[in-house]
Amino acid sequence: MFQGGYMGKLLRVNLSTRQSFIETIEPEEFRLFLGARGLGALWYWREIGPEIKPLDAENKLFFFTGPMTGMPLVSTTKFELTTKGPETGRYLCSNSSGNFGPRLREAGFDGLIIEGVSERWTAIVIENDAVQFVDDEGWQGLSPMQARGKLLSQVPERKTKWATMSIGPAAENRVAFSSIFVDDGRAFGRGGGGAVMASKKVKAFAVRGDQQVPVADANKCKEIANNARTDLKTSRAKHRQLGTAQLVEIINELGCMPTRNFQTSWDAPDKVQGVYAQTLRDKYYVRNYACYRCSVACGQVGAVKEGEFAGATARPEYESIGLLGPSCGITDMAAVIAANELCDNLGMDTMTAGNLVAMVMELFERELVTAKENEGLEVRFGDSRALLEMLKLIAQRRGLGAIVADGAKGIIQARPEWKPFILHSKGMTFAAYDPRGFHGMGLAYATSARGACHNVGGYTVSEELLGTKYDRYAVEGKGKLVKTVQDNRAYIDSLGLCTVVRSAYKFSTSPTPETLLAITGYDFAPHLMTIGERISNLERMILVREGVRRSDDDLPPRMKEAIPDGPTAGHLISDQMLSVMLDEYYAVRGWDDQGMPRTETLEKLELTRVLETA
């Protein structure tokens, strides 16, 4: 069926027995689920029951690549992590760039499954089908980059380089939003994959191999790569020039910038300009950063040369700037770079960390907590030093950090009275877009398979702002819009391609066939949106099995309060408005009024048999 694009095998490593197994992935599984996110959901359905808790030995880490991962095209860098995540206590999917996915394929595998628990702290080295363990209690306490450096110093030098994954101290302390870092600059940021890896006592991975992924039509691939490079040169020029940080100014002007823990959604431009992309460029820019085989190089590495935060270096993206910056009342780019760097060194998700420090700041503002409970540290909006100190307290589980480290769900369990100040859905904290300004984002956060998220949940901002049939503050039409962007994203996340470049390959809602034909020899194009829909429904069935119903597709209390000022003043999403959007969304999805996929929907998507295999 496939002449290329897949190795057809996965590697399963059992840490308890130190055995590894090579298993086959069937062509039918690729046909139905494409790769990466789709295969991750499939294996999760089969192997992770609802009774398993995120840090149980029975939880597993599934890493899957897609048919484009590592292929000789531009930006073929992505791979997917699937696990039960500590932040939500449920299904977690997360994707990352980096060299690890491509190198895993060169080792001969489309997927890697890590199960069991190691007796001692270890690192896993995979070279082709050989698996080795590097036991060392000295792994503990290292930052992700220190662990990477240490592991690379112990593996033999080879012509093709090793790729790595590693975790930091926050993961060792089981912070519910600790990340897994890939190589020297990318991460499975959200959801707490780091804590799952730490619970297995694995500090790092290294992988390389000598194989080549077969390609159906190598010449055509070359032609497509050249065309993509030419397209991206002009179409992504601004992205390269200033990166995603440009959104700070745009989203603030549109009145959707999380400001002081979403108490409002805008601040005066002369204040916010301290964290604009242009400020990053003018005062802190060092160089661009590129992922594997990417000619866009959208990452902007910034370094602080003088002042309080001199020496700090990071690559702040829009989400990190928004949530560590204005949401914490901070409009000093040097402080944001320092906070971002600290999160990276501790190994924590900048987005949830920013959200939860902002929550602590609001608790102080409302005098609901005191410095006495927080090792003497007051954490006020706009206080950069306090932001940094609070991040350390979280990673070390000290002071209020001992509660905050458990994430939104843990906090609500321990301190239910703080619930009104936590911006989350299903336990995952918000991305840096206030949905009161684009109501489709509210539905996206509420229905996202991994909790509030602008990627898995869907990014509706463009359509809501520009589409002639939409009104950003209306609820009508948002159900269909969100379904479409979610299904589109689900197949993109299964390709192994960076979403930023997808238009260069025409991976839209009506994709063209040439790229996947050249790679696999199979015409996926007419089926891609159905594959996306199938993945969305499988993920929903997983969530249903984990207890999710309509009442969980919810937004936090703050969304029901009107925005007090700025361009979107007066707007809110009431329970009734969300309910109208959910009704429409469930109807277009073919789900019942509790959000359960109907039998005929599962049948239509060829899922009935798949679901029987658990």
Partner: protein, 95 residues
């Protein structure tokens, strides 16, 4: 005459050499009159390189015959990357 403020955001500010400008329009000017005036400033609106927003809504969401008012605010910013995930040309960065 009415004065309409036009702000340039992101990388466009550098390209235009200014953060904002003012368009002086006749009293009976409508939304439909905006586009040619913006083009005259040198903005590329054909290749969808740039996005025009009037009072927080995309220009295409307004009726072309809606009269302009003195407190109307226009912002223009570059089509950076990524996309909305639909078949329409994509015009927004994703993060």
């Amino acid at each position: 005459m009415i004065a309409i403020t036009v702000k340039f955001l992101g990388g466009l500010r550098q390209e235009m050499g200014t953060a904002q400008t003012s368009l002086s329009m006749p009293d009976d000017a409508t939304v439909g009159d905006l586009e040619p005036r913006l083009r005259a400033l040198g903005l590329d609106l054909d290749s969808e390189k740039n996005i025009v927003v009037l009072n927080n809504r995309g220009l295409g969401q307004w009726q072309p015959n809606r009269p302009l008012a003195a407190d109307d605010a226009v912002i223009v910013f570059p089509h950076i990357a990524g996309g909305s995930g639909t078949s329409r040309p994509v015009r927004f960065p994703e993060t």
